[in-house]
Symmetry: C2
DNA sequence: CACCGTTGGCTAATCGGCTTAGCTTTAAGG
DNA sequence: CCTTAAAGCTAAGCCGATTAGCCAACGGTG
């Protein structure tokens, strides 16, 4: 019986593909094994279990998303950079509906690649905000605001939460435009 | 053997309590049954199954959230109403970590109460936005923006996605303040 | 080429959760 | 008191995850 020749990389990558097809919640070791032409328990030679697989998938997806955000913003600044990054963010979420939810998982401190990927993603946002003159606590607040807005939008969109017929692309553009306005006149409370 | 005397209401309500304790994902028919002092299959006399239970829980949570939002905004307007509603929203999510995620489920059109609850929640936001002079398509866009921001924030907060030590309450206040600014000068593209 | 150790794959078995089928018994109403 | 709808039960089957333990393929070494 010839070996299939799997390793952790191939397993995680196929999991990513499968997740995009069937959804993150429906990503199952059983389905993944059959997809890879292998019996389910064989996967344990490469991944500790279902939870560990999800965590590895999170690391992969976070790295991809961070790269997409960084790439989009490079060579741009201000509202231009913001729009490009926001578009890249939503584009990733739409094109990878199975991977995107995985990016919500907090990195395991022991997984250096995952931690680094998360820092790259936040760093990309920070860099854009520096273009608005936002630094320190303001940058932290603004980063949280931007992440919240983008994450919330793509999550609601994916869940089918926008019932009305109004064009969703346009709503997203308006959201990003409103964030642009916010960042240009960021509210400072007394501190 | 005396009867416990369950009905759909009591089952769903207990499910909500349990979900808040153990988390939405960990809400299981097995745990719910043992909590109610009943064998698992007995639950099927009151609920069609696990998915239907989640849907009923969604209806309950959506109604509660809508009520909280509406109550908070009553008698206020403008930024005052916005802040009160936003605080009520986050407060609900924090105090009901198991119910809140359920509110993401799209109502089944056949469940009139659920549909109505969703409309009440959106209607509450619409009402606040009217105080900013936002109506029609602008109100739709702004509603989506606000929902995105609030939902994104509480979701990331619950997931532990805010790593830095910066005070989360303050970040939320800043987010809401920035939305207030956005609504006061809502961007209109050429249409 | 033969040997051997590593390791990737397998089968078997257990466990937990969901679901269905079908039986029993409560309790409410005539 | 009798009937009957419904609330509860047990039994059984399915599916996914996990663990244990076996076997065979491949790579390196003599």
């Amino acid at each position: 019986m010839p070996r299939v020749g799997l390793n952790q990389q191939t397993v995680v990558r196929e999991a990513a593909r499968l997740a995009d097809e069937v959804g993150f919640q429906q990503l199952t070791l059983a389905a993944l094994a059959s997809r890879l032409g292998v019996a389910l328990p064989s996967l344990y030679k490469h991944v500790r279990g279902a939870d560990a697989l999800a965590q590895k998938l999170a690391a992969l997806a976070t790295a991809e998303l961070a790269t997409a955000m960084t790439t989009a913003a490079v060579g741009r600044s201000g509202g231009d950079a913001l729009r490009a990054m926001a578009d890249a963010y939503r584009d990733y979420a739409v094109r990878h509906p199975g991977r995107y939810p995985a990016t919500q998982r907090v990195p395991d401190p022991a997984d250096a690649e995952h931690v680094e990927a998360g820092e790259r993603a936040v760093g990309a946002i920070f860099a854009v905000l520096r273009g608005y003159g936002l630094t320190g606590d303001d940058a932290v607040d603004a980063t949280r605001a931007l992440r919240s807005a983008l994450h919330g939008f793509v999550t609601l969109e994916a869940a089918g939460g926008f019932g009305l017929p109004r064009d969703v692309d346009r709503s997203y553009r308006q959201l990003v435009a409103s964030m642009d306005i916010s960042f240009r006149s960021w509210p400072r409370d007394g501190r």
